[in-house]
């Protein structure tokens, strides 16, 4: 009986892994296709479509735009989220529960609706479509996330270290920069990392709020109009590789921290 469960478990797990990895394997395999259709039979391997991606200035500038928007908006989100979390965790504020609820409210609303709202508002206020507008939207979706992560990690035990610093005469900004930020570094890093990945991958807000210079997911979307194309496979594989590197780096940093 035990053995039967074991074998069935292995078979089931293998089937689910196969389902999970099937599209990724097909994507990467046919990015190496030598002919112009990413469908069987496989004619590669060839790197011609990677060449095509790297010499396409629309894609490379979209990549730069994506990195720019992701890093700046994540920095803004994590800064605002951290200051806010510190304020709520260390001080008794009137209506604190309600205000914290307000800060985390955007987490419950879909990106499409957040993007729609900003589009209507910006349209009405005469703000033109731009990367800045998309970046503002990315801060809206990532700020509650950063706040929730950092706030949940602000325990009471850290208060004592801050108190000690104050007793030794440190002004408030010094306590913040030299004590609280280093102590909270793992949570701050986690918030920043998650914001980066969400912003890097975000499509619908950027789609609604940018026009010409746009982000990579929107540019990939534009490529899809030409149907199945190994070039799309190549750029998708590159995006996949970047994400894997980020996740592995994140895991390694976390592991090292845990061991230290």
């Amino acid at each position: 009986m035990r053995k039967v469960v074991r074998i069935a478990s292995w078979l089931y797990a293998l089937a689910v892994y196969a389902f999970i990895f099937l599209p990724v394997v097909v994507l990467v395999l046919f990015s190496l296709q030598a002919t112009s259709f990413p469908i069987p039979p496989f004619t590669g391997p060839s790197l011609r479509w990677y060449d095509a991606v790297l010499s396409d200035t629309r894609l490379t500038s979209a990549l730069v735009n994506s990195l720019l928007v992701a890093s700046i908006s994540s920095l803004a989100a994590v800064t605002l989220g951290f200051l806010c979390a510190w304020g709520f965790a260390r001080f008794v504020l009137p209506g604190s529960g309600l205000l914290r609820g307000l800060i985390t409210l955007p987490l419950t609303v879909s990106y499409l609706i957040i993007g729609m709202g900003l589009l209507v508002l910006f349209n009405w206020a005469g703000v033109p479509k731009s990367l800045l507008a998309a970046g503002i939207g990315h801060v809206v979706i990532n700020l509650p996330l950063c706040f929730a992560i950092i706030y949940s990690q602000m325990g009471n035990h850290q208060i004592n270290i801050e108190r000690a610093a104050r007793d030794l005469g440190a002004p408030e900004w010094k306590v913040l920069l030299l004590i609280t930020v280093p102590v909270m570094a793992p949570a701050i890093f986690a918030g920043f990392f998650l914001s980066m990945t969400f912003s890097w991958d975000e499509f619908v807000i950027s789609f609604l709020l940018t026009r010409f210079g746009t982000t990579l997911p929107v540019e990939i979307w534009n490529l899809l109009r030409s149907g199945l194309n190994p070039k799309t496979n190549a750029v998708g594989s590159l995006v996949f590789a970047v994400s894997i590197v980020l996740v592995v780096l994140f895991e390694l940093t976390l592991l090292r921290r845990r061991k230290a």
Partner: protein, 293 residues
Amino acid sequence: MSSSANKGRALPRAGSALPRAALPWALVTPALGWTLLFFVLPFIAMGFSSLTAHEGGAFTASNYSQFFTNPSYWQAMVNSLQVTAIVTVISVLLAYPFAWILAEQVPERWQRLALMLAVLPFWTSYVVRSYSWLLVLAQNGVVNRALTSSGLFAEPVQLANTRFATVTGFVHFFVMLLTLTIFANLKQLSPSYRKAAADLGAGPVRTFLHVVLPLTLPGIMVGAFLTFVLCIGDYITPQILGGNNELLMPQLVMMQIGRRGDFPLASALSIILMAVVTIAYLACARWLKIERA
């Protein structure tokens, strides 16, 4: 603001450059201001917009009444609810045994790696993931090639641009998400529950059905609700994989903006979509008690 700021009593007592009462507000105001300006205000703007006519901008409720009178709009909501329900049920049924195997059958030291592998494609671009499924399900793609060459089907089957494709793409994403949440849930379960059940004479099946499953049910409900919310609001997967054969609500919303520039109608449809999510939340709120650890 100044009167309420006085109530902002500081816990730590020490010298500071800023006046005591102002500091906490200085910390929380930027984030609150951002949320009010770029989340609450847009929402109010959308509300106003939804009550105006596309031509002329006069006050009207017609954008809302259209939803109830135009059968194709109504149908988009029905489609959305059906697809979301199917996706949620299939994803939970697939992910639970998988998470259970990872948590119970895989040796402890390989678990982290096994889980990381299981959710690796989760971190890749959402648009790219949908496109990859299009490759797999295309008329002459991998699946059809396998079906025809194995002799099961003489002709390629229409898989892409169908509801089947949309559901497959969604299930792929949500199986990974639910595996993560259910795995965490199973690991949090103290082993002493299982030992107690075994001591009282329950076999593995009985222990699972009467102890493990009920104790992980709240976690499943939270995961299923998350699936519902993310699925019903997603535009990418149905647009890439389902095509325009049948429209879901997010596609209908985007269509109003893209083709017709009809912001008022798009706003009204968005608000209706949000109302449905809120109703769903209220309906299962009592199963969604997220307890703090």
